[in-house]
Symmetry: C2
Subunit: 209 residues, 2 copies
Amino acid sequence: MRLGESMLAEIFGVSRTRVREAMMKLEARGIVHVSARRGWFVVEPSADDARAAFHARKVIETGLLMSVEAIPPAAMEALRLHVEEEATIVQSGSVHDRTCALGDFHIHLAEALSNPLLTEIIRDLTARTVLVSMLYQSVDDAASSNADHAAILDAMQSGRWAEAAALMAAHIDQVEAGLDLSARLDPLAGLKDILTPAATRPSFSRSPS
Amino acid sequence: MRLGESMLAEIFGVSRTRVREAMMKLEARGIVHVSARRGWFVVEPSADDARAAFHARKVIETGLLMSVEAIPPAAMEALRLHVEEEATIVQSGSVHDRTCALGDFHIHLAEALSNPLLTEIIRDLTARTVLVSMLYQSVDDAASSNADHAAILDAMQSGRWAEAAALMAAHIDQVEAGLDLSARLDPLAGLKDILTPAATRPSFSRSPS
DNA sequence: TCCACCAATCTTGCATACAAGCGATGGAGC
DNA sequence: GCTCCATCGCTTGTATGCAAGATTGGTGGA
């Protein structure tokens, strides 16, 4: 999926300079990459890239759960609330909403248990795996993921951190196992919906001066 | 420590555009930050930032050691060799060389045990903590760190991964404890040596057209 | 009919020019 | 002598212009 600088510049009504800056920020986060004098492309992670992203998440999130000693009751309550909302969205929401809600759990967990730096790392890794899920055929197991999240919270609440870590590892393994890393999907299919929710639509009515 | 765009552009013989791009890459990695219309500065991590970086390293590196099952003998041998070189540098090298060698151990460990993605994350975090060590008064405990590294390798070689993880956590805690996070050092002291090793010196003889 | 080659066009890469804002410095007033 | 304010200079922020390269379409030849 090619992202032309001039095209984006016109769509958003800014000059190429700002588009380039934004693209380079996204490149640093591993969302897009540039091919010299050919253009910017949304990254299409290889199977190895996908495995690497899941592995990194597993290492970091289990390491986080193993190294934590206590969690403030308020944060615990907020997480519990999120999982409940998650359950609602899983039952009634769109694929996009479900993916976001399930990913948000891990980010909120990081916010509750760690610091902004580590949270940002986990946020980027989660974005990567979401990208992977959109590229490869994934069996939609949102309900199972939601149950996993609840189980992890249960273990946390009882202070069984090692068990929570083990559940987390199993959960991430299962999400990864749900992907068919041998068959690539058409990347254009879902991406356009995700990338053009609100920001660009008004701009299309902008007069092309 | 201010890094003026025009100054850097002249030193490196390129335009401000490229300097800005490089600065924004460094900003994404948390090495520098920009103050609006005032300039770029090497980040001076607060005590909280420092603690966050050490915490993140501890979580990730212990998580890594806990989740690994086996290591190829060749990689193990390479790590052992590195620790030996480290010992030599610790005894005879400069502060700069020692800091680099000690940091490299963690990066090589990540290379041996994980994937490029996670290695890059650990590399950036290590750079951050090195930056912290240069900013805050740190008791120079290079020999102790080297011994820690050797002990970690011993545990790994025997397959005692949990013990290796515990040693790693203690090691990182000790490095952090060696810092005086209450007193800030003069940031200019060591940084200039690090940042001007080879690239800029020839450029200084460039005729200021 | 197919393949190779060439040119036109479109793309990013990079430099430069202009605009806007912050800080410092000098002067005036108290 | 001290303080406050205005103005000037230097800095980044942003846009634009030009050059180099890649792709694609067309054309000529086998």
